[in-house]
Symmetry: C5
Subunit: 87 residues, 5 copies
C-alpha cells in the first residue's frame, strides 16, 4: 500500500455504469521517492479532502469494494490517525 | 487509476484476433510525477482525441471490457468533466 | 520481492473491517535504484521496527495472509538474517 | 499497454519447460517518460526485429497465449502499422 | 519479463513456512532505464551467482513454481545463453 493525501473529488458524468455511486478522488502519494505521484482512488469508508490515507492498488482494490467486477485498481483502505507523525 | 489525455488512435492491422473491433488509443498521463508517461488504452465508452479520461490498469481493465479473455491491461473507465479543474 | 527496512508502525483507527488486527508498518526500500521508496506493508511473522525484511507485492501478498479477501498489496514474507551483508 | 520496438531475439537454453517453443524478444519502450525501458516479451503473432509493437503486461499476457499456466508477464498483442506516425 | 544479473543468495531464517526450501537471490536489472533496480527472486532451475537471467514478475511467478499459494512475486524463468550478446 502507499500513503497518499486526498486532494479533491473527481467528476466524470460519462463513465462505466459499474462506477455509478462510487466516490472517486484524486490522491497524491506523500513521502519517499514516489512523493507527488498522482492516483485516482475510490473511497467507501468516508474519507475526505485533506485526509492522509492508506491506498491499496491492483486486484486488492476490488477486495476493498467486495465486488470483483468493478473496474478499479486503487482504493482507500484506511484513514491515518492524525497522531501518527511518521506517516 | 490515473488521469490521462487521449492523444491519438493507434492502428495495428496485424494483431490478436481478440482485439478485433476494440478501439485502441495513445494516452499520456497528466499531472503528478508520472506526467508524460505514455500508455495504450482501450476505450469502449466513446471517448475521443483530446478528452481527459480516467484509466484503470492491470486485471481491472478486463473488468471494464466484461471479458476476462481479452489481453488488455489498460482501459478508459470515465471521461473527466470539463468543469473539473483540479484534474 | 524487494528488500525494505521497517521504519515505524502506522495507525489507522478508521479502516476496512478486514484489516482489523493486522499490523501495518511503514517500510522503505533499501538498495538499488528504488532506494528510499516507501510502502505500507502488513506483517504476520513478528517483524519489528529496524528489521530488514523481504516484502512481496501484488496478489502474492494475499497468499501470505492465506485469505484472498483482505485488501492488502504488500506483506513481509521474511526477516533477513543480520549476517547477510549484501542485502 | 505500451509501445515498444523489438530489438533482438533472446536465447536461453536452460529455461522453464513451459517456455519451450515460445519466441522471446528484447523490446524497448519508445516514447513518453518510460522511453528506453527494456522488457523481455513473448511473441506469437510473427513480429520481427525492428517492428514497433503493442505490448500487454501482467496477467493479460497469459490471455494472449491462451494458457494461464505459462509464466510470462509481457506479450506482443499487435504490430503497429507503419503509416501510424504518432505512435 | 526483465533481464537481471544474480548478485547473491539471501538468507532469512525467520520467514513464511511456504518459502521453506525455496532459493531466494538478489538480482539486479541490467540494461535500459531500470538498470540497477534490485529485486529478490526465487530460482528453481539451478541458476547461480553471476548468471544473467530472465525474471518474470507478478502472478506469473507463481506459475513458475506451479503452486498458486506461495507468496512470491518474482521468479527466474531462464538463464540467458552466454553467446547472447545483446541481452
Amino acid at each position: 500500500m502507499v500513503i497518499a493525501k486526498l486532494m479533491d473529488t473527481i467528476w466524470a458524468t460519462r463513465k462505466s455504469e459499474k462506477l455509478n455511486g462510487l466516490k472517486l478522488m484524486i490522491a497524491e502519494i506523500s513521502g519517499g521517492s514516489r512523493d507527488g505521484e498522482r492516483l485516482i482512488v475510490c473511497d467507501v469508508i468516508g474519507a475526505g479532502i485533506g485526509d492522509r490515507v492508506i491506498v491499496t492498488t491492483g486486484s486488492a482494490a476490488r477486495r476493498m469494494l467486495e465486488d470483483d467486477l468493478i473496474p478499479v485498481d486503487a482504493a482507500v483502505v484506511g484513514i491515518i490517525d492524525e497522531s501518527c507523525e511518521s506517516a
